[in-house]
């Protein structure tokens, strides 16, 4: 609630209008049986004037009800949409202000769910809130008061009716809760099987396992079917039971009226309105129950949204103007442990990379190659030691300066939907055709871009699925180099390129980006063989350092990697 308060305040007027409208609606709904009663009495007394007057009043009431309902819907929607969109906007801005470590902590897919489904839950409950939440208690209390006013002696019937309804509900809910939990599990199981089957359809077919897959799936599906049927049976009990209880209550009250009619002759005309009030109490109770389950889900969603909103970004940047800084990098006794890990991923790494030089990083999976590169781009901060660019600790660089200086091309290349040009302009907003052509030439992307009918204005689809793995990587590299950065990090960014293209990319980088400091992380020795210096990482430590030729002599790890990549060929040459 506290999370939503500031948002409600922005829509104060709409809230007032919605509330007044709902009061109007409640008034109309509650007054109607009362009015009917008066009319009945008038008919008995043959009082035509009253019938006409009260009848007209009923018409007015109906129109008021419609107006109240429509106005309430419009203004409830305005509040709900206003709160939801504002909240989503703030949530999105919040997510964008978080450090990468924070995003990882939540997991990106989880954040997406919070911004879509959870916000939707909030919107639904706010909408329902202004339509129902004020209405149901009002209707309930109003109907209760009016029912008691109509026949004061019969208050106990209402109480008994409600107690029985609540008891029945409790019994049913207890049984159904276990079934609901079971359903969730079964649904997940069915979905997992379907998803695995889809993703592995080639495996299924090539091993001729269609029959077994159907058997597995049928079993899971049957379990789900049985549980849903059980839930269905309980619902089948519930609704008729509610109405039976209410109807019996009505019958009993009419009977009592009948037995005492001589003392309260006026109750004759009151029977219908009393019955209407009983029905309204019943509906209020049922709807209230539905709303409660609905609200409990929304509370969970609000909690999840709040968790993001109250997260303080774990990384801040220094203020200052955008500056041109030199591209030399220093690691000064850097140690880094990922949040939640016991063991540091980088241990006491010290390294100097002169401006304009090339550094190659090799090592097994998990040796810390990517982590080292990520510290330069300040995706994380070291726990101990410092990373310096141009002699300045990266933590003291303004964000814009850092981002302008360092270009990071990822192993898994991500392009955004739009056009190729739009993707490139994200990094260099003033990029002209010749800039793009220059960058694409370096990345060996020009050859396929030029063949596209719309060249640089060709669309990039969602997940860039209209490009092959190699093309995506080349486009990523194009984006990486277009702003002519001081520092370029290629994190296994050429893995999907064929050998010839990779070589051409490297040659172009050497030729066109002479002053750029280049850091290349690779599995293949061939990718880093020409580097000015190569470091070999093993378990977060530098275990070898030098040029290719130095390392062949000094580093056993490097030799081993080289041998596995070279072995076959030598075997063949023998």
């Amino acid at each position: 609630m506290k999370t939503l308060m500031p948002y409600f305040k922005r829509y104060r007027v709409d809230i007032w209008v919605a509330t007044i409208a709902v009061l109007l609606l409640v008034f109309a709904t509650l007054w109607q049986p009362r009015l009917l009663q008066t009319i009945m009495e008038a008919i008995i007394k043959n009082d035509q004037a009253t019938v006409l007057r009260e009848g007209l009043l009923l018409l007015v009431l109906a129109v008021l009800g419609i107006i109240g309902g429509i106005v309430n819907t419009i203004y409830s929607a305005r509040v709900a949409l206003g709160v939801a969109t504002d909240l989503r906007a703030d949530l999105y801005a919040k997510v964008q202000s978080l450090a990468y470590a924070d995003v990882e902590k939540f997991a990106p897919s989880n954040l997406v769910v919070r911004m879509t489904n959870d916000i939707n839950q909030v919107q639904q409950i706010v909408m329902a809130g202004f339509q129902q939440i004020t209405r149901i208690p009002l209707l309930f209390v109003g109907a209760l008061i009016l029912a008691v006013m109509t026949m004061p002696e019969q208050w106990w019937i209402i109480v008994v009716m409600m107690v029985v309804i609540i008891l029945v509900t409790l019994v049913a809910v207890r049984r159904m809760t276990t079934y609901f939990a079971q359903t969730q599990e079964d649904i997940e199981q069915v979905n997992t099987l379907a998803r695995e089957n889809l993703m592995g359809i080639r495996v299924v077919k090539s091993f001729v396992q269609e029959k077994n897959e159907i058997k597995k799936f049928s079993n899971a599906s049957d379990e789900l079917t049985n549980v849903t049927a059980k839930i269905g049976y309980w619902f089948a009990v519930l609704m008729p039971a509610f109405f039976l209880i209410a109807n019996v209550a009505m019958g009993v009250s009419v009977y009592i009226v009948g037995q005492n009619i001589t003392t309260h002759p006026s109750y004759l005309a009151a029977i219908t309105s009393f019955i209407s009030y009983l029905m309204q109490i019943l509906f209020a109770v049922i709807n209230g129950g539905f709303l409660m389950t609905f609200a409990s889900r929304a509370v969970i969603s609000i909690g999840r949204i709040n968790e993001v909103m109250t997260t303080t970004p774990s990384m801040t940047y220094a203020d200052g103007p955008v500056e041109q800084i030199p591209g030399d990098i220093q690691f000064d006794h850097v140690t880094f442990t990922y949040p939640g890990d016991d063991q540091p991923t980088l241990k006491d790494v010290t390294l100097t990379i002169p401006a304009g030089s090339m550094l190659g990083i090799v090592g097994a999976t998990g040796s810390g190659k990517t982590t080292l590169a990520q510290l330069i781009a300040r995706l994380y901060d070291p726990d101990e030691g410092r990373v310096l660019i141009g002699g300045v600790d990266v933590r003291e660089l303004p964000e814009k300066t850092l981002r302008k200086t360092v270009a990071y091309v990822l192993q898994r290349s991500t392009l955004f939907s739009g056009t190729i040009a739009e993707n490139l302009r994200q990094v260099k907003p003033d990029a002209e055709a010749q800039h793009m052509a220059w960058a694409a030439d370096i990345a060996q992307a020009a050859e396929f871009i030029d063949q596209l009918p719309q060249t640089y204005d060709a669309p990039v689809e969602e997940r860039s699925q209209n490009f092959s793995g190699g093309q995506k990587q080349r486009l990523s590299i194009t984006r990486g180099v277009i702003a002519n950065p001081e520092i370029l990090i290629l994190d296994d960014a050429t893995s999907a390129l064929d050998a010839r293209s990779e070589k051409l990319v490297q040659e172009a980088l050497d030729r066109e980006l002479k002053t750029t400091t280049t850091i290349v992380i690779a599995e293949k020795i061939a990718s880093i063989i020409r580097a000015d210096q190569i470091i070999v990482l093993d378990d977060g430590q530098i275990v070898g350092h030098g040029t290719h030729h130095d390392l062949l002599k000094t580093s056993t790890v490097y030799q081993m990697i080289y041998q596995t990549q070279k072995a076959r060929e030598e075997g063949l040459n023998d």
């Binding site: 009917l36 801005a93 990468y100 091993f207 999976t365």
Partner: protein, 593 residues
């Protein structure tokens, strides 16, 4: 309209077997409805009885004769009617709940069955998420609609018809008065519903786009941060968000307005009935008691009259979703099955040779991918396919176990066209190891014996040993019983690849197709995969799609593909001597200095 017809056919197909259940529930619902409609007349009669009693009682002369007996009797009938109604409704709901659960269960399994029979082409041309949505949201929509709508529709129709009958039985004039406002209400409702459906469609489109944007941006967060694009991202977001605000507002309003509108119309109608009824009571030729009873009864009817219409309109969007759902599921059901020859030949072994003879192939009509490929392989030989991306290497693999069929030309085993073999026999003898290994949930042992679920543990272990993965599996706390789940896999890509090799080794295929993994495997694991591949290739006819040349240096034959044509063919030394495309590829990739 075709949507509606197809949906009708679809539901008919799955629901016709429950005809008896439907018949029973319809009868029960008719009974229940009869009770619901009759009950108010008894209430009216009870009031009439009571009025009479009161009149007699007030009159001193008649007081002795006054009795509550008729009133009590009428009331007992009134309560009995509701008890019968509750029981009938309960049994009908029970039957329908059962029908709903079991028929959607059958639909779910039916869809899954169909997927197992379909061609690989469908899976290649449709996104997994989209197919999966048919299992989740579409079948869900169908279930929800049946769960809620089935009973309500039957009830509403029965109630409406019953109400009409009773009303006309009671008093024709009053019945017409009660119905008078119906056309206007229906037109109004149809107009609002039309507006709502247009607005909601627009809203769903915009929400879809917004969600798509959020998803893309946040999953690419690393790129956003490293390029300093967060503020731009927020700016882009605002556009989508503003659009959703507008269209969702319209959608919510139009779909929210229907209910108060219908409720208001129902109240208006009640007022009309009261006006006319009281005039009728006072000016007609009925006794006051009877007139009063008539008004009470028809006020009651007027309030009930719009209920069936209201519940039908409130179900409208749900029914709409169920129709769309049925269409989408049916779309899959209409896809062509894989072609299995009528009486296919059995396949036991490849005795002599495998021949790919002048094969032309296209995924899409008019866009040929393979232009006359011919490869001849002797039993036990290893053939390596090399070539740049898009050259057609993977396509050749797709044809060998008939994931796709050739356009022209033929693939033959010992002179027999593979299309003449029993499809399952063919695939049992053609083993594949995919680039992107796919494991299934279950234990490691289950995964290794995936192709032969009855295989003994000894054979599983033996296969794992040959695949170089036995030691790793043994090092796990649960060994071969370790649970594999694809969601949060603890296994690296390399380990998965080794398990998938073990899986193939266990089935001992005659022909083996290996699609080599490209990247993301460190060199040590890669060496293991290499050795495992060597083990599995040993003595078997095999095709290897190679991305790294060192795999294939000792192939019996290397086939170089480029743009769907074979440009070079021969052994490694032969091709080097030729000094063509392969030689260049080899020098670029393998020679370090």
């Amino acid at each position: 309209m075709t949507d509606l017809r197809n949906a009708g056919k679809y539901y008919w197909h799955y629901l016709k077997r429950y005809w008896f259940g439907f018949l029973m529930s319809i009868i029960l619902i008719v009974i229940a409805t009869w009770c619901i409609v009759m009950a108010p007349t008894y209430l009216g009669r009870a009031i009439e009885d009571l009025t009479q009693y009161l009149q007699q009682w007030t009159n001193q002369a008649m007081r002795a004769k006054a009795t509550l007996q008729p009133f009590n009797q009428t009331l007992v009938t009134y309560i009995l009617l509701y008890i019968v109604e509750a029981i009938a409704l309960f049994v009908a709901s029970l039957i329908l709940a059962r029908v709903t659960a079991y028929s959607t269960g059958t639909m779910r399994v039916g869809l899954f069955r169909k997927l197992q029979r379909m061609r690989v082409q469908y899976f290649d041309t449709h996104r997994d998420g989209d197919i999966l949505a048919r299992f989740t949201s579409d079948l869900d929509n169908i279930f929800n609609a049946m769960n809620q709508a089935l009973l309500e529709i039957l009830l509403a129709v029965a109630q409406f018809v019953g109400l009409l009958i009773v009303m006309f039985n009671q008093n024709v004039t009053m019945a017409w008065v009660t119905m008078a406002s119906t056309p206007i209400t229906l037109i109004l409702a149809a107009w609002v519903m039309h507006k709502a459906s247009v607005a909601v469609n627009q809203q769903q489109d915009d929400i879809g786009q917004l969600n798509g944007y959020i998803n893309e941006q946040v999953t690419g967060q690393k790129v956003l941060i490293t390029n300093g694009l967060q503020q731009d991202s927020v700016k882009g977001f605002q556009k989508y968000n503003a659009k959703v605000r507008q269209s969702a507002l319209t959608g919510q309003i139009w779909s929210g307005i229907l209910n108060p509108l219908m409720q208001g119309m129902s109240l208006l109608n009640t007022a009309i009935v009261i006006f006319f009824g009281s005039w009728f009571a006072l000016n007609g030729n009925l006794s006051t008691g009877a007139a009063l009873a008539l008004v009470v009864v028809f006020v009651n009817y007027a309030q009930q009259y719009y209920q069936p219409i209201m519940s039908l309109t409130s179900l409208y969007s749900m029914i709409q979703l169920a129709i769309t759902g049925a269409r989408r599921v049916d779309e899959v059901q209409q896809q062509p099955d894989e072609v299995n020859p009528a009486d296919g030949r059995a396949l036991t072994a490849i005795e002599d040779e495998l021949k790919i003879d002048d094969v032309h192939f296209s995924y899409l009509p008019g866009k040929e991918i393979l232009h006359g490929v011919s490869i001849q392989v002797k039993r036990g030989e290893m053939v390596a396919l090399v070539g740049p991306t898009g050259s057609g290497k993977t396509t050749v693999m797709n044809l060998l176990n008939r994931f796709y069929d050739v356009d022209s030309g033929a693939i033959t085993f010992d002179g027999v066209n593979i299309q003449d073999f029993e499809l399952s026999a063919l695939r049992q003898h053609v083993g594949i190891v995919l680039q992107d290994p796919q494991l299934f949930s279950g234990t490691i042992a289950d995964n290794i014996r995936y192709g032969e679920p009855t295989a003994t543990m000894d054979r599983v272990i033996d296969a794992a040993k040959q695949a170089n993965i036995h030691d790793f599996i043994e090092s796990l706390p649960d060994g071969y019983q370790t649970q594999v789940s694809d969601e949060q896999s603890v296994f690296s890509a390399g380990q998965k690849q080794l398990m998938s090799i073990a899986r193939t080794i266990l089935t001992n295929p005659q022909l083996l197709i290996l699609d080599e993994a490209t990247s993301n495997v460190d060199t040590v694991t890669e060496a293991k995969i290499q050795a495992a591949m060597d083990n599995v290739i040993q003595g078997r006819t095999s095709f290897v799609i190679a991305h790294r040349l060192k795999t294939i240096l000792n192939a019996d034959k290397i086939v170089v593909l480029k743009e769907g044509r074979i440009i070079e063919q021969g052994s490694h030394p032969e091709l080097l001597a030729e000094d063509g495309f392969y030689a260049e590829l080899y020098h670029n990739q393998m020679v370090f200095d």
